[in-house]
């Protein structure tokens, strides 16, 4: 069908005075937006092909290229925006479901930006984390209802000796735990949705920092088995790449029920993306569609979920935590309660703004609730029911900074997952075209010409830098509050105040408005 011309989304501006026709942009752009004319020895650009990833702009040695939003807009209309018109046009041409990548970009309220933190003044001393010990270590897993200690060991029965903590021994058998040196994990991103170099960067950074990355539902590439001690392996509805050795390789297992970008729906990895390497980790033939159905075929209830949780615990002989990831939906609190009662050691909740490699735009932008409200609701519910200790809570979905992390923990999360932030650290500029597999940054692609652009050594370094920086900032904020352990902030909502929030929002978040004292 003939395409109706619509104004392009971006304009590629080339400064002819600066351009030396070196053709780096021509060779690099996976969308073929630049071309070279040998007759005139000039490089020209086709703005219709530009996705706005800014890769050419970054690598142009003379700084000749600037990518701009097209100033030639449609007639200004608050209701029928350019995006709406473009989407309708595209669907009129293709008759297909619109796809997108990354997290929801609609301007829903971001509650993090309406929550402020407390600090000590006069009445309680703040702590300087540069000179005093500051504890960010976090354990993910089921905590006992009570612990039993030996009275004290025989050597301390000497007369007049006051027993020290070292004289006691723990009698209670603790459930398996994940030990995190900072309360931040890398969110599930499969090999397939991202490149092997991106996976290796995440795995190495997790190992170096002392945290975990998550395989997503793409199986585990043979080169990643060595990072098993820092890997959370995911079991999703398609069961791709799930086998005994895979389950044994990880430090924890996560059952994926849903993700924030696409609650309630499954996923399709199109056959053309199932290359030889992808086929090996997903354990399916080359070129076949990998269909992840919306529900797990063996889970139609909490009881069924319990069956899978314990099937996994049995398979790994109760040696590692088994958690469940859900997307934040209206009924998230009772669902989380059911998950904890089903025996999950952690519950990961992915909010409305959680990212994806590919999702229908209409789902990503319209389904689910913001993570801030979900954390508060779930933490409340589990506390009310007296089962909060039975599982850790990992919050995900649009965590952008150390302040988002610390606010999530004060609201009641044990730790957070970051996905988009990690990708940005590796170079991503959020052009949202992950689903095309043509990522110029070498992240969301399997094309060997593109993937080699991400050097795993550099990727690792940048991720480690990010987590170090955030951890230091968290320590600074904690110290400012006079708190020396992240443990003491967990669920400590008195440290939060709302700015510009309605009474209902404040009630749901369980925080006081700014201006109100303790």
């Amino acid at each position: 069908m003939a395409k109706r011309p619509t104004p392009t989304e971006f304009i590629i501006e080339r400064d002819e005075g600066k351009c030396i026709a070196c053709q780096v942009c021509v060779r690099m752009c996976s969308n073929d937006a630049h071309s070279y004319d040998p007759e005139t020895d000039t490089v020209t650009s086709d703005s219709t092909k530009c996705v706005g990833c800014h890769f050419c702009e970054t690598i142009c040695p003379t700084g000749a290229i600037i990518i701009k939003r097209n100033p030639s807009e449609f007639k200004l209309n608050a209701n029928w925006s350019a995006q709406v018109i473009r989407n309708i046009t595209k669907q009129a041409e293709t008759s297909g479901v619109l796809l997108t990548g990354m997290g929801c970009d609609k301007p829903y309220p971001v509650y993090w930006d309406h929550i402020v933190l407390n600090a000590s003044q006069v009445t309680n001393p703040s702590i300087d984390p540069l000179r005093e010990p500051m504890e960010l270590r976090t354990y993910i897993g089921r905590k006992p209802d009570r612990i039993e200690l030996t009275a004290h060991s025989p050597q301390s029965t000497e007369k007049n000796k006051i027993p020290s903590a070292m004289d006691y021994r723990l009698l209670t058998k603790l459930s398996p735990q994940l030990k995190l040196e900072t309360p931040i994990l890398f969110s599930a991103m499969s090999y397939g949705s991202i490149s092997l170099n991106a996976c290796i960067s995440l795995a190495r950074a997790a190992k170096e920092i002392g945290t975990f990355y998550n395989t997503g539902e793409g199986g585990l590439h043979k080169d990643l088995y060595e990072y098993g001690a820092h890997t959370i392996v995911q079991v999703a509805s398609g069961r791709f790449g799930v086998h005994r050795e895979y389950l044994e390789a990880g430090a924890a297992i996560e059952i994926k029920i849903g993700q924030g970008a696409k609650p309630g729906i499954g996923g399709h990895l199109p056959g053309e993306k199932v290359s030889e390497e992808i086929s090996q980790t997903r354990m399916i033939p080359v070129g076949t569609d990998a269909l992840s159905p919306a529900p797990h075929h063996d889970i139609y209830s909490i009881e069924d979920l319990k069956q899978l949780i314990f099937a996994l615990k049995e398979a790994t002989r109760y040696s590692k935590p088994v958690g469940v990831k859900i997307s934040a939906v209206h009924n998230v609190a009772p669902i989380a309660s059911g998950i904890v009662r089903a025996g999950a050691d952690f519950v990961a909740i992915d909010g409305l703004r959680g990212g994806t490699g590919a999702a229908p735009t209409v789902i990503r932008d319209n389904v689910g609730i913001p993570i801030e409200l979900a954390i508060a609701a779930v933490d409340n519910r589990l506390r009310e029911e007296g089962i909060r200790n039975q599982a850790s809570l990992i919050a995900a979905g649009g965590i952008r900074s150390s302040s988002d992390v610390i606010k999530a923990i004060a609201l009641g999360a044990d730790a957070v997952y970051i996905g988009t932030a990690a990708l940005v650290a590796m170079g991503c500029n959020l052009c949202q075209r992950c689903y095309t597999g043509k990522c110029n940054w070498g992240i969301a692609t399997q094309d060997p010409y593109l993937t080699k652009r991400l050097n795993p050594d550099i990727g690792t370094r940048r991720l480690v830098n990010l987590l170090r920086a955030w951890s230091l900032e968290i320590k600074e904020m904690l110290g400012g509050m006079g708190i020396n352990a992240i443990e003491s902030l967990r669920g400590n909502r008195e440290q939060l105040r709302g700015v510009g929030l309605s009474d209902t929002d404040l009630k749901l978040l369980g925080i006081k408005p700014a201006g109100e004292a303790w």
Partner: protein, 272 residues
């Protein structure tokens, strides 16, 4: 060191599944090659994540998720089995002398499930094959709705033997024995509805015929060719040997073959 080769028996009466499975693991770890579990009564996860080539015989009815994530062993069940047998199984063999519940062979990637009796709903759902891993399910009796839903690889065979022999009642079908229970007419249907919905790989052979309205829209029906006969024969001979059935008698009736239209059922769903 000489391997322990004698049969090791475990009495499962009154044992919680965790205790029973722990005993099984201990036995397997100490080199036992043949295990017999007596008085099994609904204990789940027997053979869960078990590797190696141990043979386990189960007397009694094992619980859900029998042989889930299993990677090699052989399990023989001398009566019925419940839901989810061979769930996400990688390799090995399950032989059930009675009926099985729902989702037998869910996401199974390799190995064999041979059922003498009938199977429940969603049997073989999302089965897939990979390289030399090729999952096979053979059902001696009938099977309910959603057979081979989302099927991506492997082989499912339905024989419908109990329909012919139902009067002689060597058949394990509680519905017929308990008066007024369920819908007895359902038992006489070879295959339920929505057979192969979302199927995008693999093959099914049905002994007898299946109405078009019972098929998912992704499935096409064919006659068997020589290659199919060879394939079917290969596995059916082994099946018949398991249950002392006469291979020739079983092959007496015509089969139909069900395969998907396309390996890309949702290829044109999106606007790129």
């Amino acid at each position: 060191m000489k391997k322990e080769s004698k049969v090791f028996r475990i009495n499962a009466r009154g044992l919680y599944y965790k205790e029973l499975n722990e005993k099984v693991h201990q036995a397997v770890n100490s080199g036992t090659e043949e295990l017999v579990l007596d008085n099994v009564n609904g204990q789940r996860y027997i053979g869960d994540g078990l590797a190696g080539d141990v043979k386990i015989t189960i007397n009694g009815v094992p619980g859900n998720d029998l042989a889930v994530f299993m990677d090699g062993p052989t399990i023989v069940v001398n009566s019925n089995a419940q839901d989810g047998i061979g769930n996400t199984m990688n390799a090995g063999k399950i032989v059930v002398h009675g009926d099985v519940g729902d989702i037998a062979g869910h996401s199974m990637r390799g190995g064999k499930i041979y059922i003498r009796g009938s199977a429940g709903y969603r049997t073989g759902i999302h089965m897939k094959s990979y390289k030399d891993l090729y999952p096979v399910i053979i059902i001696g009796g009938t099977v309910r709705d959603f057979l081979g839903e989302y099927m991506a690889g492997g082989l499912i065979v339905v024989l419908g033997l109990n329909r012919e022999r139902s009067q002689r009642s060597t058949v394990h079908s509680p519905q017929k024995k308990i008066k007024g229970y369920g819908l007895p007419t359902m038992d006489y249907r070879l295959v339920g509805n929505y057979c192969g919905t979302g199927m995008h790989g693999g093959t099914m052979y049905i002994r007898g015929d299946i109405e078009d309205y019972q098929l998912g829209k992704e499935v096409k029906k064919f006659r068997l060719n020589d290659e199919d006969d060879k394939m079917l024969g290969k596995y059916l001979k082994e099946y018949c040997a398991c249950f002392s059935l006469d291979f020739k008698e079983v092959m007496d009736t015509d089969f139909v073959k069900l395969i998907p239209h396309t390996h890309r059922p949702y290829g044109r769903l999106y606007a790129y």
